[in-house]
């Protein structure tokens, strides 16, 4: 049996992403990220954004917004609104599950 080495990685949140890393992971230019942060559509309220660091949640949201903008040719504000609703829906589903419903 082939023994493979164990690959360990960084747990995002404990090690946050830089602006370049976030943009690369979302297949976008850094300007795309900056515009959405400045418009309050991404990483809004994150304690790390002032130092341009990003969490797992920011990565998920940025990828989602990029896909929505690309797939539906949606305006950034509309993609952010859809992302808000998807996140809220997910939160409510998690709470229903936690309540055993």
């Amino acid at each position: 049996m082939v023994q493979r080495a164990i690959t360990s990685g960084d747990l995002i949140d404990e090690a946050t992403l830089t602006l370049d890393e976030l943009a690369r992971a979302c297949s976008v230019e850094t300007d795309w990220v900056i515009e959405r942060i400045e418009s309050g559509l991404l990483a809004d309220g994150s304690p790390y954004v002032a130092s341009w660091r990003f969490t797992s949640h920011d990565l998920t949201r940025a990828r989602r917004m990029h896909q929505l903008e690309r797939d539906f040719e949606a305006a950034p504000e509309l993609a952010a609104l859809a992302a808000d609703l998807i996140e809220e829906n997910q939160r409510l589903k998690d709470r229903l599950r936690a309540a055993g419903l």
Partner: protein, 316 residues
Amino acid sequence: MEFKDYYQVLGVEKTATAEEIKKAYRKLARKFHPDVSKELDAEQRMQEINEAKAVLSDPEKRLAYDQLAQQYHSGQDFQPPPDWDAGFEYSGRGFEEADLGEFSDFFANLFGQGSRQRGGGRAGRGYQMRGEDRHAKVVIDLKDAYLGATRSITLLVPQVDAQGRVSSKEHTLNVGIPKGVKAGQHIRLSGQGSPGIGGGPAGDLFLEIHFIPDPRYRVEGRDVHQTVPVTPWEAALGASIETPTPSGIVKLKVPAGSQSGRRLRLKGRGIPGPDPGDLYVELAVVLPPADSDKARELYETMARELAFDPRQRKGG
């Protein structure tokens, strides 16, 4: 590699106008978008749909593809003929370079890394590019988040040979899942993404953590919820019981006078981490069945001796 009929993917005629292609794409994107679709193969379908749109919505790519498509049909074994795209020049509109990581070998051979490495596009001498970051989901047990684990994952990695042909190769990794990981969190494996071009460094691989649904436990962030069945006398009189939890068996004190639905918090017994979660235990009182003379007699005694009407207590 199989030939892909992009018109069939979007469900449009070969004579479809740009507007008809856009309309068909939006309709399918609405149906198969992974965030909303309930279809099991939504991600794969969305990839095909995006790929078809990237080609058919770009006039230059569509023209080159149409010329090639005259000789092939969907599913037919396919290798791009040499210089198949001579005379066409792609502007790159309609898709982004990084999208290539999400597209098929067929697309990559025609319009992506393969075509560039065969001498077209930007693959000139000395051209280097970092490989794309890749994303995958890894599904673990809740217990793995408590204790840490190693999981084996297999990914399809695109490979470009000396002739510039793209194929997929299985790449298996044993990944260390750190203790304390939450659902939705990412693990970044440096250099495990797509290979670079022209000796450029490989991209990173981001693994998004998901938990296998477990009917015993419900997870909310780092907090874990579970229901524990108790007998009527344990609930009424109080008891010390043992119950399994994700971190092992714990001794739990059931306060006297408990009812079904009472929640007990075990502080710090949720998913570990810098700010560990709590474990919430919800008591569920389970009645023993009245399926023997003795059991029936006990219930009849209670009915006679206890002045208890739950409907009256609730005001109903």
